[in-house]
């Protein structure tokens, strides 16, 4: 069941009706039932895997918690975490780790294994709930939480339906606290309205923008023999629009639905394309993944005995200031490899969503002392420099998107080569619009993107540590009529301009397939 489908809206309406009709203490069971039904809609394998993952998570948590010897707790944590991660790797990356020759093929371009059992059995959203359940086991081991004795609470934590497919990733401490609130939540029109506006906004981003931009993206990425020169940056630019509106649109739907149930989920985006640096970008894009990897991977690695030893050695060798950066760089390399690998296991993801960003961030850190000296001399506090910083960061992101969207590394490198290749089709309207992007579609796309930019500009807060402003609160402050008018406008615009209808299947969310 896609999150952008009439079926999903009917499903949510039914869940809401039941949720607010039953006694408050039964609400959590409604959410549980809805989550299992939703997982069932995603397929038999998905249902089986979320159940296995929940059982593993439950047992792992109990055995890792306080009250036993450290050795036994460590063993339980390692075994259950390894099984959890191994399940993800075995199922999701079977094609990548199949054999040495396949690995080489993948490295140099071929994608094989199309008939493997695992290819069909990949449970939807597994990358998200496996990390979330792994976090639960580690939290128990690190005594951040007390292991939950009630299996159904752990089951609900790992299967909660709005976030099952694409996150946002959550911790047990915060999500279970939200579940507790369901006993107190009162039905209110304003809660339902706010949630509905976010859901409509998500549908708008996905159906009006992302799926429309995809026409150009699909044409150019599929054929960079003919679409060369300026077509390549154009295709990558459209992909940036598509990916942002696709993933952030998905999050609007997820967070909006959950808000209607009175269960608040963390934001996953905070105006990422306004970021001044790559480091800042990653604190504004897919925020919960970054936080998860920081807390559960980078910190433990940095605090491990080997890294501390390396740090002591490098400080003695290169001086305190430079030497302490060595273990940081090693931990960052591990972190970014993990980010890339998590996105899909193939080398194009490892490079495009991982290593490339590691290089940008480390270069930024290495040259920071120099930049610090230069900035006052070039008027770095002026608006033009601020705009330059955002544009530079955006362009650096585009260089990664070339890899991210390509099927293989070879494909991505060929795309870069295509920028300088001659002999492709001419850059003109007739060729460009052969993608399906005619004048009407282009005008709709530009207008819709402008609306998104305006909304993000309003929400933007310079400090990435602070929450973005709420556009819904702003509309509400202007009066309920304004909020309802905005809701109607978004809904009607989506109905008229959305890419859907008879014979059209909305593309699945890009991150739901990760």
């Amino acid at each position: 069941m896609s999150l952008v489908s009439a079926l999903f809206l009917v499903f949510v309406a039914a869940v809401l009706l039941l949720y607010y009709v039953v006694p408050k203490s039964f609400r959590i069971w409604v959410v549980m039932l809805a989550s299992l039904v939703f997982a069932g809609f995603l397929g038999f394998y998905t249902l089986v895997f979320v159940l296995i993952s929940a059982v593993l998570c439950y047992i792992g948590g109990l055995l890792s918690g306080a009250g036993r010897s450290n050795g036994a707790r460590n063993a339980a944590t390692i075994i259950t975490v390894v099984i959890n991660i191994a399940l993800l790797c075995a199922v999701k990356y079977y094609n990548v780790i199949g054999s040495a020759s396949e690995r080489l093929d993948l490295l140099f371009g071929a994608v094989d294994g199309a008939n493997s059992f695992f290819k069909y059995a990949v449970p939807v959203g597994m990358s998200f709930y496996v990390l979330q359940t792994t976090g639960y086991i580690l939290d128990c081991r690190w005594e951040k939480i007390t292991p939950e004795k009630n299996f159904f609470k752990v089951l609900l934590f790992s299967t909660y339906f709005p976030q099952l497919m694409s996150g946002p990733m959550n911790t047990y401490a915060s999500l279970s606290a939200e579940f507790e609130k369901t006993k107190e939540v009162k039905f209110s029109i304003s809660r339902i309205t706010d949630g509905a506006v976010r859901v409509a906004w998500g549908f708008f981003k996905k159906l009006v923008i992302a799926d429309r931009a995809a026409m150009v993206v699909n044409m150019i990425y599929a054929d960079h023999v003919n679409f060369t020169g300026w077509y390549v940056p154009l295709g990558v630019f459209f992909f940036a629009i598509q990916l942002y509106c696709d993933f952030s649109g998905c999050m609007e739907v997820v967070i909006g639905v959950s808000h209607m149930l009175g269960i608040e989920l963390p934001e996953n985006f905070n105006c990422p394309f306004f970021s001044k640096t790559v480091k800042e970008y990653w604190r504004r894009w897919h925020i919960t993944l970054g936080a998860w990897l920081r807390d559960y991977l980078m910190y433990p690695v940095l605090k491990s005995a080997p890294l501390i030893k390396i740090g002591d050695w490098s400080k003695a060798k290169f001086g305190k200031k430079n030497g302490k950066k060595v273990p940081t760089y090693i931990a960052l390399l591990i972190l970014w490899f993990a980010v890339g690998y998590w996105h899909g296991g193939l080398w194009n993801y490892v490079i495009g969503s991982g290593i490339l960003h590691f290089v940008y961030i480390v270069l930024g850190m290495v040259f920071e002392p120099l930049f610090k000296k230069i900035r006052p001399k070039i008027g770095a506090d002026k608006l033009y420099f601020r705009i330059f910083q955002s544009l530079r960061t955006f362009v650096l992101m585009l260089t990664g998107f070339v890899f991210f969207r390509s099927a293989t590394v070879k494909d991505a490198i060929d795309m870069y080569a295509a920028i300088f290749r001659r002999g492709g089709v001419a850059l003109n309207w007739a060729n460009f619009s052969s993608s399906g992007m005619d004048l009407k579609n282009l005008i709709v796309l530009i207008a819709a993107v402008l609306v998104v930019v305006l909304v993000d500009a309003y929400k933007y807060v310079p400090s990435e540590d602070e929450k973005a402003k709420s556009a819904i609160a702003f509309l509400r402050s202007k009066g309920i009529v304004v909020l309802w008018a905005a809701f109607m406008f978004i809904t009607v615009a989506t109905l008229i301009f959305g890419m859907y209808g008879m014979g059209y299947n909305a593309g699945s969310f890009i991150y739901a397939t990760i």
Partner: protein, 80 residues
């Protein structure tokens, strides 16, 4: 060790890690108050504090400390 004695040593650790002799911290100090205290430098700070006091923070403490006051509470708890 009293809270005051812990703060004397803790200030030295902060000054050393962040290379700034003017830093003084108190219960309410948070990362945003100290120039350079970001997610990467946080671990260098934690390791330096552990070495100074001869203790070992758990990962839960490492990622869950909300301010310096909580850090001092945990140091006192570890020192017994």
């Amino acid at each position: 060790m009293t809270r005051e004695e812990i703060y004397v040593k803790l200030n030295e650790v902060f000054q050393d890690v962040f290379d700034d002799e003017d830093i003084t911290v108190n219960d309410a100090t948070v990362a945003a108050d100290v120039d350079g205290w970001d997610s990467l430098e946080h671990i260098n700070l934690i390791v330096a504090v552990e070495r100074c006091f001869g203790i070992k923070f758990t990962m839960g403490e490492t990622t869950g400390l909300k301010n310096v006051g909580e850090m001092v509470d945990r140091i006192i708890a570890h020192l017994g």
